[in-house]
């Protein structure tokens, strides 16, 4: 089972929740940090020997002696990464290329070939011998977060675990979609503010477009009657859990501690929550 922990708004507590969920279920879950532009789960999950692999993409390279500037590649490219500069011929802008390879296929003169460029790295660590954390990191200046996210998700597992948790990137754009798309269920973390709810609705709209089942976790909750609880009740959105607004949780977080350090009783609830999700997704217990 794959669970994506996402949100429309940034800073709602995706990493707080997904790190705690992974820690409480470390015997049966692994965590993949898919927020490749600014991964941060490693700040809370330290230690373990790291293994790093590189993520490469192919960008087109033009052989000027074969190119007749017909423009088929430039009209094909959705990302405008190629242009014919009059008689000077074809120019390539690799920083705009999304690695689809289409230009190479449509070129009638075989004037384009693949050149490899580094898009990011994937680091895998096993913390205390039991919890695997995979971290995707995008190269600075690279446009192609989804390439690195897919590579992080597909990175071979170091441990046998039945559940994979994705700590998704914020927003509702390509990075978010490429992560959530690969999950069986999406948990949306929100805070009970008008900003949080506005962006929660955007995320729900995007997820419904993908026909993906979802539920909500309310962070910094003031109880059953906070803004987010009422919002979800009115719309019939299932609320999995409320993380209370408490000073000791924030203090613990500021020192790199997890929710479980602040409140050890969360562990049992997070195990039950994963059991429930697994029943919901696959109709049976996690074996």
């Amino acid at each position: 089972m794959k669970i994506a922990v996402a949100s429309g708004k940034g800073g709602t507590g995706k990493t707080t929740f997904s790190v705690a969920l992974a820690l409480a279920n470390r015997d049966r879950a692994r965590l993949v940090d898919c927020d490749v532009e600014e991964p941060n789960a490693h700040l809370f999950l330290r230690g373990g020997e790291s293994t790093t692999t590189q993520v490469w993409a192919s960008v087109p390279e033009v052989d000027a002696s074969l190119c007749d500037s017909c423009g088929k590649c430039t009209s094909f490219c959705r990302y405008n990464a190629l242009a014919v500069a009059g008689t000077a011929g074809l120019l390539v802008f690799p920083e705009l290329c999304h690695d689809c390879g289409g230009c190479i296929l449509v070129c009638p003169n075989k004037a384009l070939s693949e050149r490899k460029v580094l898009r990011g790295t994937i680091e895998s660590r096993v913390i205390d011998g039991t919890l695997e954390l995979v971290t995707g990191r995008l190269e600075v200046g690279s446009p192609s977060a989804p390439t690195v996210i897919r590579a992080a998700i597909e990175n071979p597992s170091a441990l046998q675990r039945r559940v994979t948790i994705f700590d998704a990137p914020p927003g509702t754009a390509c990075s978010f979609a490429s992560c959530v798309h690969q999950a069986d269920h999406c948990v949306l973390v929100t805070d009970p503010t008008p900003f949080g709810l506005h962006d929660l609705d955007l995320a729900i709209e995007a997820i419904q477009g993908m026909a993906k089942p979802f539920s909500v976790v309310i962070n910094r909750s003031n109880g059953d009657d906070d803004l987010a609880s009422r919002h979800c009740r009115r719309r019939g959105i299932p609320v999995l859990m409320r993380i209370p607004e408490r000073r000791e949780i924030a203090e613990c977080y500021s020192k790199g501690g997890s929710l479980l350090d602040a409140d050890p009783s969360m562990g049992e609830r997070l195990r039950a929550l994963l059991d429930d999700l697994h029943f919901h997704v696959s109709g049976g217990p996690i074996l």
Binding site: G71, A83, A85, A88, L91, F93
Partner: protein, 120 residues
């Protein structure tokens, strides 16, 4: 000589559009006769990225030998530079006035892009 102007309207009584890549149309004006062709640019104006690059390609393909523009970003600049097409900088004025300024040599050439790129 054929001059490309990003334009807010469809004739010389319109203004120079303050944008380049996301201008909705270009007027390709013959500086000798004052006659012009219209090059619609809606597709590129709405591109998610690379609007300047594609607009530059379209302007060059339309036969322009010089561009008059308020601004030009680094990638479009690179395309014009490769094609050997100079960019003359102007304020968003009436195109007919700018055409007179061009004929009198009153427009200065840009030495480099004056805007940061918008890639991503």
């Amino acid at each position: 000589m054929k001059i490309a102007f990003p334009a807010t309207g469809s004739d010389l009584s319109s203004f120079l559009d303050g944008r380049f890549g996301r201008a909705t149309r270009f007027l390709i004006v013959d500086s000798d006769t004052g006659s012009f062709d219209i090059l619609e640019n809606n597709g590129n104006a709405e591109a998610s990225q690379g609007a300047g690059i594609q607009s530059a390609q379209a302007v060059i393909a339309a036969g322009a030998q010089v561009l008059v523009s308020s601004h030009c970003g680094p990638k479009a600049f690179k395309v014009f530079q490769a094609a050997g097409i100079p960019i003359l900088q102007a304020q968003p004025e009436l195109l007919s006035d700018l055409l007179d300024k061009f004929r009198n040599g009153g427009l200065a050439e840009m030495n480099g892009p004056d805007k940061a790129g918008h890639a991503g």
